[in-house]
């Protein structure tokens, strides 16, 4: 914990993220280009034909949507228990990106569902719990905007984020617990052929790096906005 607190104060964060950012930008571009190249050169799947291309962007978007929610839940816990100064900012700035990836997961899923299942949408466990995730994100963002005082807003939003975290394992295991149209997990189980696994993993890494890059820039933006506000208030006094 001591380690975390030493490196996560706003001043240290600005220094460290400034040093890391050029590399994450470069790594993002490399991973996404390599993933796109391998994806578009991969042969058609024997069952799904070329719609396997949608796999490469659907799975990363959906994974990020859930992963970012996990990050928000951890930041919320840090904020509630240890009153960590950066935790609130980190949680708040991650939320719109999480909502965006959730929306992309839903849209790419629908566009994949139509040719494979014959329908854009079904109200089954996986799809419905994932749609609920989008609503939790939107509610979380609305709560932040509804309360003027940042400290109080942060506490209320953190509680909402922790309660909503129950939905994450429900989404993850919905394909095992209930009878659903959605296919099961195929990365860890080894069901995916290497020609498809390589572009998928690279795209997953690229999406993750893109999120990390945008998240750091957004946290830096809020830190600078707060400094500016403090300077303005000092100027008025």
């Amino acid at each position: 914990m001591q380690f975390l607190f030493r490196y996560a104060n706003p001043h240290q964060f600005m220094r460290l993220s400034g040093a890391v950012l050029p590399y994450t930008v470069l790594a993002t571009i490399l991973c996404l280009s390599a993933a796109l190249y391998l994806g578009f050169t991969a042969p058609p799947d024997y069952q799904q034909g070329r719609t396997v291309l949608i796999l490469f962007i659907h799975v990363p978007a959906a994974s990020l949507a859930m992963g970012i929610y996990g990050a928000i839940a951890v930041c919320s816990l840090l904020s509630l228990v240890w009153r960590h100064p950066l935790a609130d900012i980190a949680a708040r700035t991650a939320a719109p990106l999480g909502a965006l990836f959730t929306a992309l997961g839903l849209i790419t899923g629908a566009l994949w569902g139509k040719p494979m299942w014959g329908t854009y949408w079904v109200w089954d466990a996986r799809l419905t719990s994932f749609l609920l995730l989008l609503f939790i994100y939107l509610g979380y963002m609305a709560l932040w905007n509804a309360i003027e005082d940042d400290t109080r807003a942060g506490r209320a939003a953190a509680i909402l984020a922790l309660v909503g975290a129950v939905n994450i394992p429900i989404i993850k295991f919905s394909v095992n617990w209930w009878n659903t149209l959605h296919q099961g997990e195929s990365i860890v189980s080894g069901a995916l052929a290497p020609v498809f696994l390589a572009p998928l993993l690279l795209m997953l890494l690229g999406y993750g790096l893109l999120f990390a890059t945008l998240w750091m820039v957004r946290i830096r933006t809020v830190i600078m906005e707060r400094r500016a506000r403090t300077l303005m208030q000092a100027g008025e006094a």
Binding site: L104, I107, L214, V217
Partner: protein, 48 residues
Amino acid sequence: MNFDMGAYSAYIWPAYGISALALIGATLWTVASWRRAKAKLAALEKKS
């Protein structure tokens, strides 16, 4: 690279197009607000 999607092009291209637009849009928006905050802070620090 094979860009022939056959019968599935009506699903694959929109999926890629919407994803690309959304991610590029989020990046541009993030960079724009970062630039704005940076310029504002620099102006204030110059004044004080």
